[in-house]
Amino acid sequence: MANIKELSKLPERLGPGHRLCSGCGASIAVRQVLMGAGDSAVVVGCATGCLEVATTIYPYTAWNVPFIHNAFENAAATISGVETAYRALKKQGKIKKDIKFVAFGGDGGTYDIGLQSLSGALERGHNFVYVCYDNGAYMNTGIQRSGATPTGASTTTAPAGKASSGKPQLRKDLTAIVAAHRIPYVAQCSISNWNDLVTKSQKAFAAEGPAFLNVLALCHRGWRYPQENGVAIAKLAVETCFWPLYEIENGKKYKINYKPKEKKPITEWLKSQGRFKHLFKPGNENIIKSIQEDVDAEWEYLIKRSEL
């Protein structure tokens, strides 16, 4: 459990003056995750995307910690190099202090183009935390669909139109893919449940070996909702079980951290955002039905795994 007053004493690793949109969910995610590093020195790696582009516009940087951006698909490979250099130099006695390593990537840079690099880094067992800030599309380039985009969402490369109802495919279960690498710690969290997120981040930073956090980080531009409602909508994702909060240890032990007393219908989640607006047109009821069925099936499956 994290104590907010204690956390407020920590240094701001991501400072103000960055040019992410006002109300950006990614910056909230990053601030909360970095609180999990406590007092440790932290080095941050980041994939190309909104976060990197808006926080490091030369000659300005919003980062108060060492930061490296390399390219789009290689945040995990890059931080692997940094972490290995650290181990090498520490072994030689050239570095004495304890340093934590964290890589951030959006869903585009993690589920899709960055999947190989992430997989390799996880398999090699580097001591680092990988954080995916999942806003369900390639937002920086203007809201294009990714492997994380939910079924039925309208994006600019899978838009709703006269002959289409948005993305037809199911989204990838990246959390399960990562867990299959049998790393010490994997967790899914949401910026709306900050205490759960920070606690998980603390566990991730403390883990010996790779740890992964999949964070629901909203984008009001891509999701089309009034920006001040960000936290409330993130909470809806959790209450509808679209985005369950759970942990997996060593690839096998599942623990659900929050079970809503009353699971809200997925329509609550869908109607809160403009990207799903077209699903409420007459004739699309079956799409909403299949989305609900999928959420239910995944939730049931998660419960079964947590009971093993």
């Binding site: 907010i4 007053k5 956390l7 407020s8 004493k9 701001e12 991501l14 400072g15 103000p16 003056g17 960055h18 040019r19 992410l20 949109c21 006002s22 109300g23 950006c24 969910g25 910056s27 909230i28 601030r31 909360q32 926080t55 490091t56 516009i57 030369y58 000659p59 300005y60 940087t61 919003a62 980062w63 108060n64 910690v65 910026i191 900050w194 920006q227 001040e228 409602n229 960000g230 936290v231 409330a232």
Partner: protein
């Protein structure tokens, strides 16, 4: 606000930025349409506004909510929205 653009001989090599946190010189507060205003008499110092601010623009002093960094606050309204006692209001400015 402008920065005098330096020549290639006067900047660090490799694109490296050697001034940590220099973005705070960039006043994103100029983006605002609405700004948050807090009624301190109602504030319970839960610090949730600070926890949810995307721009690190809630000033905390001695674990108490002191005010807003108007140089950087973009006026997103998240703080006003989540405040459990509704002591933050969004006003023009």
């Amino acid at each position: 606000m402008s920065v005098k653009a330096k020549g290639w001989k006067d900047i660090p090599i490799g694109g490296m930025i050697d001034k940590a946190g220099s973005a705070k010189e960039y006043k994103t507060g100029a983006w605002r349409t609405f700004k948050p205003v807090v009624d301190k008499s109602k504030c319970i110092n839960c610090l949730q506004c600070w926890m949810y601010c995307p721009d690190s623009s809630i000033i905390i002093k001695d674990q108490k909510m002191e005010g807003f960094d108007y140089d950087h606050c973009k006026g997103c309204g998240i703080c006003a929205s989540i405040c459990p006692v509704k002591c933050i209001k969004m006003e023009q400015g």
